[in-house]
Symmetry: C2
Subunit: 157 residues, 2 copies
DNA sequence: TTGCATCCGGTACCGAGGTACAGGCTTACC
DNA sequence: GGTAAGCCTGTACCTCGGTACCGGATGCAA
């Protein structure tokens, strides 16, 4: 089975070339990332070869942390060629970078806490919750229930 | 409406004290994180006050990056008191820390790529995909379709 | 024309961690 | 006893990014 005439590709070929599966192509079409391609007389999709490039662009943007919705907007903003594209890649990349940095900071705090728990030799969450010198942050809406006896708390599970 | 006799709490009180909602309590019960509590004669759940502590332990473990399934196992391993708990908190925390560090490393790579794109002044993914001096990694199964004319690729969306 | 590979639309499902709603029963307080 | 708040079960739904399956139609080469 070869490509149809006119340098156009069938959906399976596009999927294989871009490294994803056919359902994903249709999914992207539904999500508005891919325009509806031309069809053969029988209704089969016929993609221009540029579709493969576009799919690679999409995957790249995803790897950079953009959601599919953001990717769609990014592609949209590219098409319109606003005189002053107020949501071009630069703008969005800056925002995404800030998000990433916040996320990295969160993860570092968590990793730090884990390291403290390791250093303190914690080996049982329930016991730790009853001790006051455990580095783990057992906070919560500070109402009710005195820090209970570990043995009794454990019975709850 | 006050607490029922015997220092036991109704599900709404437990939920409020732990800062989550009632459906979540039932969800945790289904997931095996919370034992089935006693019931009133009419079938209402009656929790011991320790339940609140246990829920805080669960939330803490979640904040440390453990999934609910891992939390369940963590609590399980605490109850059994294996002579040599081969999956105690120490062990699991070490594993989780490694996961976190890998994730942080990934995010840093991504952040670095974004910073390069910003520095290079990229403002349009589709154009960038056609240029060879763009820092963005437009890789993919290297078959088919020559890097297309940006204008034509753009028409696909 | 036959035969097989491919593609079609529609729908359902995954996982993770919940949340929401409906319709009916219990509890607590006056 | 009346009444309102609270709770019960069961089921469906949410996000996110896909994936799987079905029965039927098409494409293409021999």
């Amino acid at each position: 089975m070869k490509a149809p005439v006119g340098g156009r590709l069938r959906s399976g070929q596009v999927a294989a070339a871009a490294g994803l599966n056919q359902q994903t192509l249709r999914y992207y079409e539904r999500r508005g990332l891919l325009a509806e391609p031309d069809r053969s007389p029988g209704g089969h999709r016929l993609y221009p070869t540029e579709a493969v490039t576009l799919l690679r662009v999409i995957k790249t943007a995803q790897r950079l942390g953009f959601t599919l919705e953001e990717v769609a907007e990014l592609l949209e903003s590219g098409t319109h060629r606003h005189p002053r594209p107020r949501t071009g890649l630069q703008e969005r990349a800056r925002g995404k970078l800030a998000e990433l940095e916040a996320e990295i900071a969160d993860l570092r705090v968590i990793a730090g806490t884990l390291r403290q728990a390791l250093a303190a030799g914690c080996d049982d969450l329930v016991s730790c919750a009853a001790e006051q010198d455990c580095p783990l942050p057992f906070a919560g809406p500070t109402d009710a229930a005195d820090p209970a006896d570990p043995a009794r708390t454990r019975k709850m599970i």
